[in-house]
Amino acid sequence: MNIQDNYLKNKKNIFFTENEDVENHRKKLINIFEKDRFDKKNNESLKNVNLKNFLDFNYKYLVPEETSVINNNHDNSYSIVSVNGQCASFKDDKIEITKILDEDYNDFSKNDTIEKNDHFVNLNSLFLNSGFKIIIKKNNNIKIKISNIITDDDLTIFQKNNYICEDGSSLNLIEEFENKNNSTSNILNVIKLEKNSQLNHFLIQDNAPDHNLIITTHSSCKKDSIYNQKVYNFSEGYVRNFHYSELIETNSEADLQGIFFLKDNNTSNNKTFVKHLAENCKSNQVYKGILNDHSKATYFSNTHVDQEAQKTEGYQLSKGILLSDNASYFSKPELKIYADDVKCSHGSTIGPIDENAIFYLRSRGMSKIAATKILISSFINEELSSIDNEQMSEKIQKKLVRYLSQVK
């Protein structure tokens, strides 16, 4: 079934079909799909993607029966359960949670500075069927944990979430994705950081082999704001992590980091993109990957420095370890620089585990497997030790141990 038919058939389940602006935008999107038939050759971001699964899909969505629960634990921490991409509304003097609104949709579709040439984001806009909006009010310091739960098999979730951190606020956001069914979720997070705000965003991904997760983040940072993102991908199913950050006012920072652990026939596509549009901003993009068996990964990183963005510091680092003959890793660290007073660099390495280090450990009586495991742990130690949440740290350690137990 082509995309247009699929859309028309399932219109009743899709958000904002009555809004004229939304419909006009969707018409444009359908046109794009008709014209550009997912040309793999000229679009590297589609490398290793099994397109058939994502284009020829059976649309299925269930409205959750039980609305999700929000607990206020009196220590400024909230835990949210999002079921099939939806959660209940909530309001107190610190935060406000509502459904996503059509004006949020139009806000996003009309924003010209955002990288729009992304088919999966377009699919998300077209089939949008869930999502919520969280506002952190001025000068509050808050922790939120979101568990993303999908209830049934074969569901296709198209979810748009908006986060707004108002002036001077600070948010610690932990998102968990631990689903055992074979559904597909396509999530777009739109994050706005107002003046002097900070968001520490952790994404823990651990889905079953048949579960597909496509997650895209668009964050924009105003004056003196900081966006930190850390992605931990232990999924056995396909995961696509595409994260864009725009530094639109001075003195803002973006730090996009990720580690992924792949095995069997799994693939993962990763991209980070930082756009420096104002002076004195800093950015950092670091991704590390460990690939075993027949797994494949791609990582695209991109630093774009506008002509106005003098005194920019932008760094990129990509490291990959291949544990098996059949694994493959593709990385493309890109720099596009139009300002002269900048410090930008990128580094990229791909290779096996250092043989000398293995030799060192083996000569001290360790088995080869034990040595390998120690070296893998140390490779990502920096990312793990920086977690200050004990509960989360333990959880990730467990997942790491599980992954390492299958390394031979």
């Binding site: 000229n42 002509q307 003098q310 990959g320 291949l322 544990l323 098996s324 003959d325 694994a327 493959s328 890793y329 593709f330 990385s331 493309k332 660290p333 890109e334 720099l335 596009k336 620089i337 139009y338 300002a339 002269d340 007073d341 900048v342 410090k343 930008c344 660099s345 990128h346 580094g347 990229s348 390495t349 791909i350 290779g351 096996p352």
Partner: protein
């Protein structure tokens, strides 16, 4: 900075583009445009055998179906292939002169202006020069000495006549005519270029060199160079270009193929100084070059060194296919863009054999309103056990209206291969500048000195004669745009 560089800077600041003159020689041209008749005309003029004409026509058929590659970060108006002359030879060259005295004196004068007096070079420099002036080889020197060693160094036209076996075997074997539209175009209409064959075990005693020069207006130059180094041989090849000042854009689409067999080594150095257009970005050469080397045998080595200062558009990716076990590929590049120049250049290292090694050092300098892109691909295929790559690409920005971009593609399919890539982009270090200024250098001299230091890693890879010329070129290219 030494006084020599200062003097050169001084002399160059007085005359804007030294090589911007036109030699008035009658040109014999076919009609404008590209069709089968044009190709038949070229083939007839070059007195080629039928199989060559057939090869050209096949390439032309492929070209007709192809579109220009779009990956490069370049902006230029659509090329009208029907508005170009595809052949131009100075008159009276149907019969080749036997020695220099028979050559048109005006040509000799041109070379004198360029600073490469043939007579003098023949005697003093010890360099055999196969000069290409508007598509036809004018004179070939030092042939005798090379012949004694069994080295074949001639124009590709001559090689088609005299060594059809080698041409049939190797032409198009590294760059297939259907690779992309520029290689197909070149295969269809190439007019001249050099052919080098180094026999087994021979180390070529001198640097072979060719000077290219575009002369006639609206004539695309389609050079085809083929270098074959047989087992255990060595050759170093120099290529240098200057072009006269023109307002119309001139198209240049050369193909260079290198083949290194077992234990052979080829060193290919280029200094490119085509006319880059004036201060407003008007005119200049469009340079679409395909250069590819095949390390076919074990322990072979191919090394590319390039200094790119000219051309309005540079589209060039000298690459190595490392097929033989233990083979080595190297790429050293300096690319300087000024005013409205655009360069999209880099390399491609494809590791196929075991223990293959490659090294990439690229230095980009952007000035004025120019755009400078490094685009390189390193790929390790499944069987490239223990392969190794090191890539370093640095960019320097001078002024806030230019752009420097780095686009590396890194692909590893082997878990014993190691790849390292690093890149940095920055402006000229203020401390270094301050240090130089304190010691009495002017701002421009200081920048020139620092940039030369920045490029040194690449420049030192050039053969002696070229290194001196390249250093001067670097200084000249910076002129007028700093401070």
């Amino acid at each position: 900075m030494n006084s020599e560089t200062l003097n050169t800077l001084d002399s160059y600041s007085k005359n804007k583009y030294k090589y911007g003159f036109v030699t008035d020689i009658d040109n014999e041209k076919p009609k404008k445009g590209l069709n089968e008749d044009t190709i038949k005309f070229i083939s007839l003029k070059k007195n080629e055998p039928d199989w060559m004409l057939e090869w050209r026509l096949k390439a032309f058929l492929k070209w007709k179906k192809m579109k220009e590659p779009k990956w490069a970060n370049l902006n230029f108006p659509q090329i009208d292939y029907q508005d170009i002359y595809y052949y131009s030879a100075p008159k009276g060259f149907d019969k080749k002169p036997k020695d220099l005295s028979e050559v048109d004196p005006k040509l000799i004068e041109t070379y004198n202006k360029l600073g490469i007096p043939l007579e003098e070079q023949k005697v003093l420099a010890g360099v055999a020069v196969d000069v290409v002036f508007d598509s036809v080889s004018v004179a070939t020197t030092y042939k005798g000495e090379l012949e004694k060693l069994g080295i074949i160094f001639c124009s590709i036209g001559e090689a088609i006549q005299k060594h059809p076996d080698l041409i049939k075997k190797y032409l198009g074997s590294v760059i297939p005519p259907g690779d992309h539209s520029f290689s197909a175009l070149n295969s269809a209409v190439f007019t001249d270029g050099s052919f080098v064959y180094i026999p087994e075990g021979v180390k070529c005693p001198m640097e072979l060199s060719t000077y290219f020069r575009i002369n006639a207006e609206n004539t695309g130059q389609f050079e085809r160079t083929l270098i074959i180094a047989d087992k255990g041989s060595y050759v170093s090849y120099l290529e240098g270009c200057t072009a006269p000042k023109r307002d119309d854009n001139q198209l240049h689409a050369a193909n260079v193929e290198l083949i290194a067999l077992e234990d052979a080594e080829i060193k290919y150095s280029t200094v490119q100084n085509w006319y880059p257009g004036d201060e407003d970005g008007k005119g200049g050469i469009y340079n679409f070059v395909t250069k590819r080397g095949l390390c076919a045998g074990k322990n072979s080595k191919i090394s590319w060194t390039q200094v790119e200062t000219g051309s309005a558009i540079t589209w060039k990716y000298p690459s190595c296919i490392l097929k033989g076990d233990n083979s080595i590929g190297e790429f050293y590049s300096v690319a300087i863009t000024n005013n409205f120049q655009q360069a999209d250049t880099g390399t491609k290292m494809t590791h196929i054999g075991k223990n293959t090694k490659s090294k990439i050092i690229s230095k980009g300098i952007s000035l004025g309103k120019s755009q400078n892109t490094y685009r390189g691909e390193v790929s390790f295929l499944r069987k490239a056990d223990k392969a190794r790559n090191y890539t370093q690409c640095d960019s320097l920005l001078v002024g806030n209206k230019c752009g420097a971009h780095t686009v590396p593609y890194i692909d590893s399919k082997n878990n014993t291969a190691v790849i390292e890539h690093e890149a940095s982009t920055s402006k000229i270090n203020e401390d270094q500048l301050y240090y130089c200024r304190q010691r009495g250098l002017s701002h421009e001299e200081a920048v020139s000195l620092i940039v030369n230091g920045f490029c040194k890693q690449v420049l030192q890879e050039l053969p002696m004669e070229f290194a001196v010329e390249a250093q001067k070129l670097v200084s000249i290219s910076l002129e007028g745009s700093v401070g």
